[in-house]
């Protein structure tokens, strides 16, 4: 069965009509302030884009204005997540998808690296056990 995102839906705006609803700019100001706080006080922050009442075109406009930076990552955990640094250092996009490829969270994270990228203590403990067991076999 075709999934919803596979059906090509294109919103056509009449000529001269704005393609977005002006919600990208206030978010950019919020990002600017968060980035200033991170630079001076080291405070990391995160914005959940799904909690914002975006109109058609707003999300695309925001992501276009943020652009792409030097790092692009994918994470395979309960579905694929895509993480990239925007053209503004310290501003990251974290796009979480489930196993069916449907978006479950879209966040803007402000910090050196998104928190989910760091190796987690529980996984490291598990890794020690597995590596030790593997060495025993040799």
């Amino acid at each position: 069965m075709q999934r919803l995102q596979d059906i090509a839906i294109k919103v056509e705006s009449p000529e001269g009509v704005q393609a977005s609803h002006g919600n990208a700019l206030p978010i950019l100001y919020e990002i600017l302030h968060a980035l200033q706080r991170f630079s001076t006080e080291g405070e990391q922050s995160c914005i959940d884009l799904r909690s914002l009442p975006f109109g058609p075109g707003d999300e695309e406009e925001l992501l276009r204005l943020l652009g792409r930076g030097e790092i692009h990552m994918t994470m395979e955990a309960l579905g694929e997540s895509t993480i990239w640094e925007t053209a503004f250092s310290g501003v990251w996009i974290v796009d979480h998808r489930n196993a069916e490829g449907e978006r479950v969270a879209l966040q803007i994270e402000i910090g050196s690296v998104p928190q989910i990228v760091f190796s987690q203590q529980e996984d490291i403990v598990d890794a020690i056990d597995r590596l030790a067991a593997q060495l025993k076999e040799h």
Binding site: V17, G55, A77, H96, A105
Partner: protein
């Protein structure tokens, strides 16, 4: 069966680890859960800590005078998917439409879940309860009223899903031939959460259940018993078309220049100013769109008596009797009163009252 019991006694963290899910995967799951519960991402560590220890609660789902639209909505929930919800978040022990068992075996499953989880299980109800005659709606020979009272007696909480269970909905609309009432009108000794909407937004249903699972408590509720986190702001206040309303730019018909340019739908009957729901942010069909974004005004389906609130295409034509109450919600929510009160002027009220006819069963008989 023994495996099922073992799984039920495991915490969510243990269950996910057993399935080979990494800590990173778990944190991603928590980020999605926070987003679904409309909580800020800063809550993710707290959610992770709580979910790590959370145990799957038993859920008994009762369907009374309803159209199954609420279940249809739930099964289209994608974050988490309904499979995740059933297998990871909750133990759905009884649901007419989704369960394999039928007849006596189904009723035995309900009784077993009630017995084994006494005082801890959640009852989800969709549909209203007929009080005029128990014969109007019964399951396995048990009246809806009897089944509700019997099942809720040992429950921790009740979630009334959909406008029928929350406020009576369509069966309660004039002339209410079955004497339909909401769950809250019957259950007075247990916490009742109203997740209204016709149907409710799928992630709002799962969000409320996830909140209970995560924190072991019910979310903060508004005056109508609805979770504030989803129903705290009006559709109008969160509408991306709101700037057009403020500028006085309205669509007057569905095919005029204003409609094509995406202007405010207030004059086409949009009930956004008096409706509290999360459509503008949660959206529908996997986040694709929502009614106003599709070019149609809000019907106000998450408000009490929306079926009796006059025509869907009349600008805020609500019955006179409801006016004070509905304006009251708006004031309570801290919304600028001027916008709504201005629209609900005397002439509009008089017109609404005049248009709102009371139809009796005798009238219907005469017409047929």
């Amino acid at each position: 069966m023994a495996d099922d019991r073992k799984k039920l006694s495991m915490t969510l963290g243990e269950s996910l680890r057993q399935q080979g899910v990494s800590r990173r995967g778990f944190l991603k799951y928590c980020a999605a859960t926070a987003s679904m519960m409309a909580l800020p991402p800063t809550m993710v560590p707290a959610i992770a800590q709580a979910l790590e220890k959370a145990k799957r609660p038993s859920v008994i789902w009762l369907s009374f005078q309803e159209c199954t639209g609420c279940t249809e909505s739930l099964t289209r929930s994608h974050s988490p998917s309904v499979e995740n919800l059933i297998f990871d978040h909750i133990s759905l022990d009884y649901h007419h439409t989704l369960q394999v068992a039928s007849g006596d075996a189904a009723e035995a499953a309900r009784e077993a879940a009630m017995h084994e989880n006494e005082g801890k299980y959640i009852v989800v109800v969709d549909g209203s309860i007929p009080l005029a005659n128990p014969g109007y709606s019964a399951i396995a020979g048990i009246s809806n009223l009897q089944m509700l009272e019997e099942t809720v007696a040992g429950a921790a909480a009740v979630v009334a899903v959909g406008s029928c269970a929350a406020f009576g909905g369509l069966p309660h609309a004039n002339p209410n031939p079955t004497g339909a009432v909401s769950v809250g009108e019957i259950i007075k000794d247990k916490p009742v959460v109203n997740v209204s909407g016709c149907p409710p937004i799928p992630t709002v249903i799962t969000g409320v259940l996830a909140h209970f699972l995560t924190f072991g408590s019910l979310p903060e509720l508004d005056a109508l018993g609805r979770p504030m986190v989803f129903f705290g702001q009006s559709i109008h206040d969160r509408c991306y078309r709101r700037p057009f309303y403020d500028k006085g730019l309205f669509a007057e018909t569905f095919d005029d220049e204003g409609a094509r340019k995406g202007w405010c739908l207030f004059r086409l009957g949009c009930k956004g100013p008096m409706t509290y729901n999360a459509c503008a942010t949660a959206k529908w069909n996997q986040g694709t769109s929502w009614p106003v974004e599709s070019g149609h005004g809000c019907l106000g389906c998450s408000e009490p008596d929306f079926w009796d609130a006059g025509g869907f295409y009349n600008a805020l034509s609500i019955p006179d009797s409801d006016l004070t109450r509905k304006t009251g919600y708006v004031v309570g929510a801290g919304v600028a009163l001027g916008a709504v009160a201005g629209a609900l002027n005397r002439s509009t009220r008089a017109k609404a009252a005049a248009k709102h006819e009371t139809v009796t069963i005798e009238d219907l008989d005469k017409k047929s």
